[in-house]
Structure formats: C-alpha cells, structure tokens
C-alpha cells in the first residue's frame, strides 16, 4: 500500500498512538532517570534480567488482554500458573518423557481451566468475576492435591533450559515476543480478533450481526488459560520446581499491566502493544527500585500508587479529549 503522510493519516496515527505516547514517554523517562542514578541499569546483564523477569507477567497479561477486551475478567491466572507448573514438573523428572510432554501437559492444564471458565461465563451466564474466582480456588486446590502440598522437584535439565538463554537472549523473553506478536496480529487481522472487539464494544449489536458471541467469549478465556499454562511451565523451569503455592496474586499484576497499557476494563478497547508497554513499565520500575535498594515492602506501596496513578492520568487525558 502506498504510504501517504498527509494530515489525515497523521491525526489517525495520533489517535491510534496517542493513548500510548504517554506510556512510551513514561517508560523512556523512567529508563533515563535510572540510567543516571544507577549506570548499571543499562548494562546488558541488567536489561536481560529485566526482560526475563517480565516474561511471566507478560504472558499472563497478553492472555488476559483478550478476556478484558470482551468486557470480562480472569482472576484464576495465578492458581492456573501453579497448577500447570506442578503438572509439568510431575512429567519432567529426568529420563521420564521427551521435552514436549511436560510442556504440552502444562499448557493443556491451563487450557482446560480457561475452557471451563469460558464455559461457565459464556454458556452458563455466570459473571466472570465469580466463575474465575471459583477457578482460582479450585485450581489452587488441585495443584496442592497433585503435589501433596510439597514442591515437585528433581526436574530434568532439558526443561530448565526453557528458562535459559539462547544467543544471549532469555528464552522466556523470546517466547513472550512470539506469543505477543501472534496474539496482537490475530486481534487485528482475523475474524475472531475483530469479533472480540465487537463483543466487548456492544454485545447486543454483535449478536444482532450474527456473531457467535458465546463462542468468542469462550475462545478468549481458553486462550487466556492456555497462556497461563505456558507461563506456569516457564515459571516451573525457572525455579526448577513445580510450586503449588506459586503465582499468588499474579493475576492482579497482569490485569494492572493491561489496564496501564490502555485496555478498558469495560471491554472493546485495547491492544497487545499497549499491554506490552504496561508490562515493561511495571518491570522497569520494579527493577529500578531493586537497584536503588528500596525494600520490597516499600516497593509494593510504590507499585500500588503507580497502578492507580497511571490509570487516573489516562482517564484524565481521555476525559479532556472528550470535552
């Protein structure tokens, strides 16, 4: 397609990117300040560390972006991470199965949880908050049952390599990159992707347009569960155990990153690109506070303030544009 740089495409570009420009600026400013205060921040080792740390939250956030787009929510992510980690670890003792078995099983466990969430929300009409709250408790319970309440260790080094480096790039970050590209592309360029926006933007209109609303909602929860499963496998590989208690509160970090990234909690607006920016911003700030030797107790206070502050700022900007 021919590219025209006229005023119209410029305004259009601004309306697409406008909400995110603030985010990009915030990210760059934070990086700049950190680089001045702690030159070590810009070192390859530290930057690699940052992307490694954000990968888990990133995978969860990309998945839950789909759910938030439909106007729903998924609170079960943290528990699903633990469950799929335990499942994968169980099948990953040295010499037991080839590498793909634990990975597939972990993802399948997450997919199943997401599918059940989707079934109750889309078919059963259970509010997403309740359906996924139930799954949050049940999946955690199942993880504890499967592991007997103890960490599942003795993991084959082939699986732990999933958390290692490939050509100096952390594999989890590569996975996140691939997943985010695929998820973002799907949202923008496929029918189910377009339907997600329609269902979240006006469910009644979507129904009258013949869109399979239930199927689309089910799909969103299933994809979200599958990515939580993947995140669980990656986490297990990183900590070399299947921890039944892992992932507590991860869902809230993921939702926070998505909302900071400009996705509306009421559905219909959002993007994977924005979500990634939100994930990065939260990761960089966390890393910076570590480098500045801020205690993790204070870090939580800062994180809470940032979540509310970012969304408050964003709403104010949008409000100003409406007037």
């Amino acid at each position: 397609m021919r590219y025209r740089f006229d005023r119209q495409s410029l305004t259009r570009g601004l309306t697409v990117w406008g909400p995110r420009l603030g985010l990009v600026a915030a990210l760059l400013t934070t990086c700049g300040v950190l680089a001045l205060l702690r030159p070590h921040f810009l070192s390859l080792a530290n930057l690699t560390n940052v992307v490694r740390q954000v990968s888990i939250n990133g995978l969860l956030a990309v998945g839950v972006t789909w759910v938030l787009l439909t106007g729903g929510v998924d609170l079960s992510l943290g528990s699903v991470v633990a469950l799929s980690g335990v499942v994968a670890a169980h099948l990953a003792h040295p010499g037991m199965y080839p590498l793909w078995v634990p990975i597939t099983a972990g993802i399948a466990a997450g997919t199943a949880c997401g599918g059940i969430n989707g079934l109750f929300v889309a078919r059963g009409g259970v509010p997403p908050f309740i359906a996924t709250l139930g799954m949050m408790t049940a999946a955690r319970g199942l993880a504890l049952v499967l592991s007997g309440g103890r960490p599942v260790s003795n993991m084959s080094p082939t699986l732990t390599r999933l958390a290692g480096d490939w050509l100096h790039v952390p594999v989890p970050a590569l996975i996140l990159g691939g997943v985010a590209l695929a998820a973002g592309w799907t949202l923008r360029n496929t029918r189910p992707g377009r339907y997600l926006f329609a269902v979240g933007g006006n469910e009644q209109a979507a129904r009258a347009a013949g869109i399979p609303v239930r199927g689309i909602k089910g799909l969103a929860y299933t994809v979200c569960g599958a990515l939580a499963g993947l995140a669980g496998v990656v986490l297990a590989a990183r900590i070399t155990t299947g921890q039944p208690n892992a992932g507590a509160g991860y869902e809230l970090d993921a939702i926070a990153a998505v909302v900071i990234g400009g996705t509306s909690l009421s559905g219909g607006v959002g993007s994977v690109g924005g979500t990634l920016l939100g994930v990065l911003l939260m990761g960089v700030i966390g890393n910076g506070l570590d480098l500045l030797n801020v205690s993790s107790y204070y870090q939580q206070i800062v994180k809470g303030a940032i979540i509310v502050g970012a969304v408050w700022f964003d709403r104010r900007q949008r409000g100003a544009r409406v007037k």
Binding site: M1, Q8, R12, N189, T190, R191, P192, G193, R194, Y195, F197, A198, G201, N202, Q204, A205, A206, R207, A208, A209, G210, I211, P212, G268, V269, R321, K323
Partner: protein, 501 residues
C-alpha cells in the same frame, strides 16, 4: 409586564461558539428563553442543538460568547453549577436510580431530614412526593421502584422533580422520542403546568406536529448557526422544514405501487406468550409491507422472532414456501433475512469500532480468506457501501460514534444490505434522524423494493408508512387488527385499529 423583553430572559446564550477538535459545532449563536415560555429548538442532526443546550446546562463551556442567567453573566464549571442556579436538563436517556422508589428519586439530593442527624424523614418524603405529583395531577405509586415505570412515567417524575427543585429553566432533549402519542399528551399537560408556574422551557424535537402544539417560539439551527427565531404562529410547516434543511421538501407518496411478486415470507399463527399472538402475514418480492401500531403493540417482537433474536413459541415461518426455523441471527442471515434493528445505539452499532469495521461486521467472512481478514478487500467493500448508501464520513477509519445519527443509521443499513438479503426488516429506521437523512433512507428503502427485495417496515410515523408501503398491517396489543391500503386509508382510520379498545 411591560419590562423590556430582554430582562424577562431567564436563560440566555449570547453569541456563543464551540468547536470540537477543529470541527465547529456552533458559531455565534444567540438564544434566550423567557419565564413561562416554551422555546423549541429545531434543526437537523448535527445542526448544533445538543451542543447549544449542553452549553446552557453546564456540560460544555463555550469557546466564545457568554451564558447569562436572568441577565447576569455566568460561567458554569459543571452541570452541578447550572443546577444550583435552577437550570435543569432532562436527558434523552433519562438517568433515574432504578432501584429506588419514585418518591426517593423525586427528592434525590433534597430529602427531608429526620430527627436524628443523617436520617431521612420517610413520611415527609412521601408526603412531599405526593404533593409534587399532585401538582401535575398524576397518580403514580410513590413507593414503587423507579424501574417499574414506563419511559413516559419517568419523564413525568423528572418534570415533577424540576418543579420540586424550583427550576428556573428546564431543558428537554427530545422527550417525546420514545413515548406513545397518548403519553405525549400527558407530557404536554405537565409542560403546561410547568409554564403556568413561570418556568422557562427549552424543547428539542424533530416532530413537526408537536412543535406547533407546544411551542411559543421556535429557533432553527442549521450547520451550527442560527437561521431564524420567531413566534411559532409565524412559521408554516413548509417554511419550518425549509429553514431546517435549506430547501423545500415534498410530501405524499414516495413510490408508485408495484405489481407484487411471488410470496417470499409467510407467517402463520406465530405466537410468543406475553409478546404477540396468532400473527399471520405475507410479504412478497418487490413489496413493502408496513407494520403500524403503537409502541408495545408487538411489532418489534415479531421482527425479533423473524430474525432469531427472540424465537416464537409456536406458529410457522415459511420462506419461499418452505417452513423454516430461525433460532439465531446467523441462521436468519443464511436464509436471506436481514434486519436493521430498532435503537441503533443499543443493538446496532459498536460505537468504538470504525465506520469500516461496523459496515463489514456481519459479513466479515466476505472480506476474509479463512479466518484472515484481507484488509484491502475490506477497505474496498466498505468504500463501495459508503458510496452506495450515501454515508457522509471524512474517513472510513473514523469511529462510528463520531458520525451524526442519520449517518450512523445508514451504516447499520449498509451492513444489513452487504449480505444481499432477500427480505429486509427495518425497525424504526428513521427514528431520531434529521429530515435530509430521512429522505435518503426512504430512497434506500424504495430502491430495495425496486430491486425485488421483500421489505417489512416497522415505523411509528404513519406518514412514512403511508408514503412507502404497498400494504399496511396494523397491530394492537400483540395481534393483527387490520390490513389496509395505504393509498386510500386515512391516518385516523389506521389509528382506530391501533389504539387500545
């Protein structure tokens, strides 16, 4: 009173202007409303009526000019500011608290205090509520939850609320858009009571007959500018329309009657308890069948059953003579049925998606290879639909919510037609859109029939049905009461079959 007229103005805009993101919505408009007067504000959608009243009610601030209350310049920082000075706005979509009672809604924010601090004197609350409703000679149950009232009931409560708050001016934005003729009469009685109490009333409407019944003065806006302000009795209907659109419009039949083709749709004894009962009708190819009746007569429900939104409980639907079951809109579309739903904001458009995306939404598969959208093809299809349906948009990627009501409606129609339906159901396709867009929509409907499409047209505007339909079917309380010839029948006759007995 022999005062200079200027001083009687309760609420006034002096040379106000307002732009939104480079688009000028209002330019140098002056407007005033006096005590005990109904001043109607008319104009096509996008003419600036809503912007003007939002300036007066403190929802927007003018870029230029001033707002005055009783001659004194004011700057409203919020709607609350305006409320404190006695300016009450009744919104198109009313916003009561549905779970609270009528009395609680009436006195929301002004509850009589009880003996203990922070408590409400419930007996005084109900007494005051009854007094206010009594002023309007209304007998609404003050303890009933607000949600049990009809739209008209909620409106009267809002009016009573305005009286209770001693409003100096009340702004009504299309209050009659969603209520029946009988309810309009009740609304007008309430408005007259308000007038007698010296309240100034700004009344926005699209309906010609209404404006001459209720307005003392009329101001016409066009393209953000004031065209004319005058006493209502100095306007003729034709003159008023001409002022609004800038040209004269003809009335009467809009199309010649056609020889009916073969039967496309047949309903036999279709029923859904609580909605409609034993409805039988046929629609032929190339024919427009008008469905007349009051709101709540079951017309939209029949349409919903045909389109699979709310399936019928019993009876038969035949398409091309074959009995069919329609359980979802997708199934209806596969049978060649398309529908333009009532209430384009509620069930028609996805406001945050673009014009292009809204047009292709129902037939996205045509723009796809497998699940993958082919952007170039989608852009082409949308561009063709925009041209074919006369949608005025600067850019197909513009958010559809930024279009005027008439153009939004054309987007919904364009989407429906994209599937090349053999039967098109249109439910109130011209409600709340301006005269120019209305004429375009009428031409689109007539064109559909000309091309051999079967059309089922639901409208609450009888002149529209009589101008377009080949046959007129009247419904009352869920049942078909008459089939009439729109070319010979009178409006009174149609109404006699539509009004409840």
């Amino acid at each position: 009173m022999l005062d200079n007229e200027k001083h009687a103005a309760v609420l006034e805009a002096c040379g106000v202007g307002k732009s939104f993101g480079g688009v000028r919505a209002l330019r140098d408009v002056s407007f005033d409303v006096r005590s005990g007067e109904v001043h109607a504000l008319m104009g096509e959608n996008g003419a600036g009526k809503s912007t003007l009243v939002k300036l007066l009610a403190g929802l927007h601030r003018p870029d230029a000019g001033t707002v005055r209350v009783r001659g004194r310049r004011v700057v409203f920082r919020s709607p609350h500011d305006a409320l404190r000075r006695g300016i009450v706005m009744m919104h198109q979509e009313l916003m009561p608290v549905p779970e609270l009672s009528v009395a609680e809604n009436l006195l929301l924010g002004r509850e009589p205090r009880g003996r203990l601090p922070g408590t409400i004197d419930r007996r005084a609350l109900r007494r005051e509520a009854r007094r206010l409703l009594g002023l309007l000679e209304l007998h609404l149950p003050v303890d009933a939850p607000m949600r049990t009232l009809s739209v008209a009931g909620m409106q009267t409560v809002e009016i009573a609320r305005a009286i209770g708050a001693n409003a100096a001016a009340v702004i009504m934005d299309e209050p009659s858009a969603a209520i029946s003729e009988r309810e309009v009469q009740a609304l007008f009685r309430s408005i007259r009571t308000l007038k007698e109490r010296g309240t100034a009333i700004v009344y926005i409407t699209h309906k010609m007959d209404e404006v001459f019944r209720i307005a003392d003065r009329i101001t016409v806006l066009r393209d953000g500018e004031r065209v004319r302000t005058d006493r209502a009795d100095r306007f003729s209907e034709a003159g008023l329309i001409a002022a609004m659109v800038g040209r004269e419009l003809s009335a009467g039949r809009l199309r010649a009657r056609t020889a009916p083709g073969e039967r496309l749709l047949e309903l036999r004894g279709l029923s859904r308890p609580g909605a409609f009962h034993d409805v039988s009708l046929t629609v032929r190819r190339g024919e427009i069948v008008g469905l007349a009746g009051l709101m709540g007569a079951g017309r939209s429900e029949v349409a919903a059953a045909l389109f699979g939104l709310a399936p019928a409980a019993s009876g038969e639907i035949r398409v091309d003579g074959r009995p069919v079951r329609v359980r979802s809109p997708a199934e209806a579309m596969r049978l060649g049925i398309g529908m333009v739903t009532e209430d384009r904001r509620g069930s028609g458009l996805v406001p945050l998606l673009s014009v292009r995306e809204n047009i292709t939404l129902a037939h996205l598969a045509d723009c796809c290879r497998g699940p993958f959208i082919r952007r170039a093809r989608e852009t082409d299809i949308a561009a063709q639909a925009i041209a074919a349906n006369g949608i005025k948009t600067s850019d197909p990627d513009q958010a559809v919510e930024q279009l005027s009501g008439g153009n939004q409606q054309k987007v919904v129609i364009a989407r429906t037609l994209l599937g090349r339906p053999r039967l098109v159901i249109l439910d109130e396709p011209t409600r709340g859109i301006d005269i120019g867009a209305k004429r375009d929509v009428h031409a689109l409907i007539a064109g559909l029939a000309e091309r051999g499409c079967a059309v089922l047209l639901i409208s609450s505007e009888l002149p529209e049905l009589m101008a377009l339909a080949d046959r007129l079917i009247v419904m009352r309380q869920g049942q078909v009461t008459a089939e009439l010839d729109p070319c010979t029948v009178t409006q009174e006759e149609v109404l006699s079959y539509a009004l409840p007995v």
